[in-house]
Symmetry: C2
Subunit: 310 residues, 2 copies
Amino acid sequence: VRALARGISQVEEGVPQAIALLQSIFPRTGNATVVGLTGSPGSGKSTLVDRLIATYREQGHRVGVVAVDPSSAFSGGAILGDRVRMQSHATDADVFIRSMATRGFLGGLARATNDSIDLMDVAGYDPILVETVGVGQDEVEVVKTADVVVVVLVPGMGDDIQAIKAGILEIADLFVINKADRPGADRLEAELQYMLALAENPERPRPRILTTVATENRGVTELRDEIQTHLQSPGGGQREARRRERARARLLTVLSDRLMERALRGPLAGEALDELVEEIASRNTDPYSAAERILDQLLGGGPTARTEDT
Amino acid sequence: VRALARGISQVEEGVPQAIALLQSIFPRTGNATVVGLTGSPGSGKSTLVDRLIATYREQGHRVGVVAVDPSSAFSGGAILGDRVRMQSHATDADVFIRSMATRGFLGGLARATNDSIDLMDVAGYDPILVETVGVGQDEVEVVKTADVVVVVLVPGMGDDIQAIKAGILEIADLFVINKADRPGADRLEAELQYMLALAENPERPRPRILTTVATENRGVTELRDEIQTHLQSPGGGQREARRRERARARLLTVLSDRLMERALRGPLAGEALDELVEEIASRNTDPYSAAERILDQLLGGGPTARTEDT
């Protein structure tokens, strides 16, 4: 557990050893089922994840959790004060919970999350639950390549608060109406059914809608079983396609990071970046021409010329 | 107006003419004040923006709005049904409202938003209000380089729903407690004051806290005036620093986009990307080694070797 925690910290910090570590474990990854859970703040995702962990533990699974939701109880969320809420699994060595701080430049969040999933996977945690808030673009990217995507809604909060990126609906495999004992649950389910009927896609089974009251542990076992059923259903799994998507996203993210690293160590090293920024800020050049200049310095004549060289 | 709308569409679609357009207008940009407004879904940001527009119109300003909040009334938000809400300024040619769909690969959102700001700026809109939800990483990146950043909170929603990225607090210039007629407004203000006192930074004035009831138009003129006061205050403006930050973020985003474009047109063209993805998905290689290979093909011997060449 300590080695895993250290590994994840290295990955988050992006130290050079982290890459060697990730490369060495990669062949042994891909075993764990990755369950993405997303929904707006206030939908009770964390409580649901907490109860889901318990039902997986009953079955003897070792459970990994990556929380990338700033409002999650697992990531210690909440802006006012830092009342870190109790974690009922904090003393269970077979539950590994990691909250992701969102980091610096573009794509860092998705990279760190996927790397952490790999590390937990190799350490024998399965399933791995990834909890994200369903609002931000990066957060959507993170959850969308999970083996199964669960979208959590809650009745009676109005459209505003429910606001979830349109793209989320397209990637949902299962919908959960949490806090289903609240007024408006039936109406929300009917609206959701209607919407799903409109969006019917012959290539995919229509997502099922489940209801839960996580605080009372109602519907949670059913959710766990439905996740399993979905993964094993013939057309439903899409596991291979999702995993290729994840591989593609990871490759492009890593490549993008490395390219920027080269630019920052090469043509933008030292004062060069600041000088260029000053030129742009003072309108002596524009970001597009400046980027083109760096591109030329980094790539020489571009891919065509490189091909001639080699 | 039509030319502006077309320009923004081109920018969003990333067509080649868009870059030429942005390059040609860039020297004439940088005039408009960019006001960033952020807060969680349900905080009433859209109504506040709507009322702010009206007070700016009273002063004769032409107002631009970029809405990157999926729950915004301006971006037509709300997942259930597509009840596009009424826009009270829809017929006013001196108000230009654009909602940003979030787009493809990394950083697209920030790029499209900044490009749209440039286009509105040159078209004579000033101020330009940028409304984002304060949760996602990309969304935070977008707002954080505005000339002034307004964070909108609302009483009585609990910490969960209020959840805003920690980083947002550090970039707030002004706090607004909207729906201030609700119970809990005083408590929220006290908590916020306490938190700001703890986070006191001698280099920056402590952000002021204003209260509004946007639906009743209370406190809105005061907010507009306070934004102006903040921008003109000696230590408060930070306008130059923010603008350098914006220039830096834009340069790096554009550079990153262009580098990836080169990779996708060069070593990853045709079947190459799919083949590499397949290799990763089947665990025959890992994303880091694969990226390294592409890097070598694209850059030859890397920056050092390039320097020797040139």
